[in-house]
Homo-oligomer: 211 residues x 2
DNA sequence: ATTTGCATGTCGACT
DNA sequence: AGTCGACGTGCAAAT
């Protein structure tokens, strides 16, 4: 039998039905089911990182005969277990989170500290997290002649979506009395993003992480 | 010992170091490691659906003493295993995929089939997947007076990001000789999205899935 | 091989 | 509880 009160990893033959934001069926087969202490559950197939089905934290798991049922506010997963192949209960499962280095902040700091290496002009101020109607921009430098240089930094390849985000900031900052120049700063950039920038009079700043 | 040639689920005490798109450390603790037949590997902590660390398909796994090393083009995960608590080899792991109903396509079809219920006017044509510079739009209806009605459909709550996407399409379709009207069609919508639509002269079409 | 846009995205932060 | 933006987003389809 299965003890659903403890986190477990269960390899079994089963079929899965999901109903909620969408509706889906996973045909009968051998799958790995993981139930965690936060109430989340996921059903993994033999390929891909992503689970075939899942339910987030605070879901309620229930066992009814050979049915495993996980309920959420408006979602329900029903697992029809036909054969338990292997089950392990995972005791003292760590809940530590990963510690990430090389953040966007790091790039912003580099731009801030070496502003002159990237942008020419005589600047009054350089501000981080410059507030706009659509949220703060990473960096804004204001020239003595009131030209605003707006930088959006991305920690990896810049995309068109990043450019439209930049564009929105520019629209928010543009007024009748000041000029604006937009920059996307990132280690790499997609071709379409380059086109988009050119078309809208913006520039790409190539910037790398220090090793 | 661990047989890395077969898919497995391993619960062990370990520490994980990742280097690639970012750099991260996961402190020593008990984690569940899943290695799949496609070469992917993931390290799960005791909370959340998402793995703490992972490596996609076609990664190469290597065992060196108590080190599990997964390499990719430009990424590497090193798992320092200090104690194996439980290991299961997952045979005949199904690779079936889920069968999803209630898709965006379904909404587009509904709009297409009941166009008159949503938009007034005399129309020449209604096209699905109307091609633009920025990719195909879900639906475009062209009035006899050359007004283009451009619809972007979303299967759930519409966001500002969806609106900017719509805006891009509108820009691509607008010329000196035609008028355009933009619509975001979705079951729900965020307040900010509503504001954005109003500000840019677009509309929201409320549309539900049929039961 | 690269790019694009979707996703039952997930998740954290903030209102 | 709802909204918003970031993510090592993952992923498949199109180019």
């Amino acid at each position: 039998m299965i003890d659903i009160s403890r986190p477990f990893s269960l390899f079994c033959r089963c079929e899965v039905i999901y109903d909620g934001r969408a509706y889906s069926i996973l045909e009968e087969g051998n799958y790995l089911i993981i139930s965690k202490g936060d109430g989340s559950i996921q059903i993994h197939g033999g390929t891909n990182i992503q689970p075939r089905n899942y339910q987030g934290a605070k879901s309620k798991l229930e066992l009814r005969g050979h049915l495993l049922i996980s309920r959420n506010k408006k979602e329900i997963i029903t697992i029809v277990v036909s054969k338990i192949i292997n089950i392990a209960y995972l005791r003292y499962w760590s809940e530590a989170e990963i510690n990430i280095k090389r953040t966007e902040q790091e790039l912003v700091n580099k731009l801030f500290d070496n502003w002159g290496n990237y942008i020419d002009g005589e600047f009054e101020t350089i501000q981080r997290e410059y507030p706009t109607e659509y949220g703060p921009v990473d960096l804004v430098g204001i020239e003595t002649n009131k030209t605003y240089h707006v930088i959006e930094a991305k920690r990896r390849r810049g995309t068109v979506a990043n450019c439209t985000q930049l564009k929105r900031y520019l629209e928010a900052i543009t007024t009748s009395t000041n000029l604006v120049k937009g920059y996307l700063a990132s280690p790499q950039i997609s071709d379409n993003a380059v086109k988009y920038l050119e078309k809208h009079g913006c520039k790409w700043l190539q910037i790398d992480f220090d090793i």
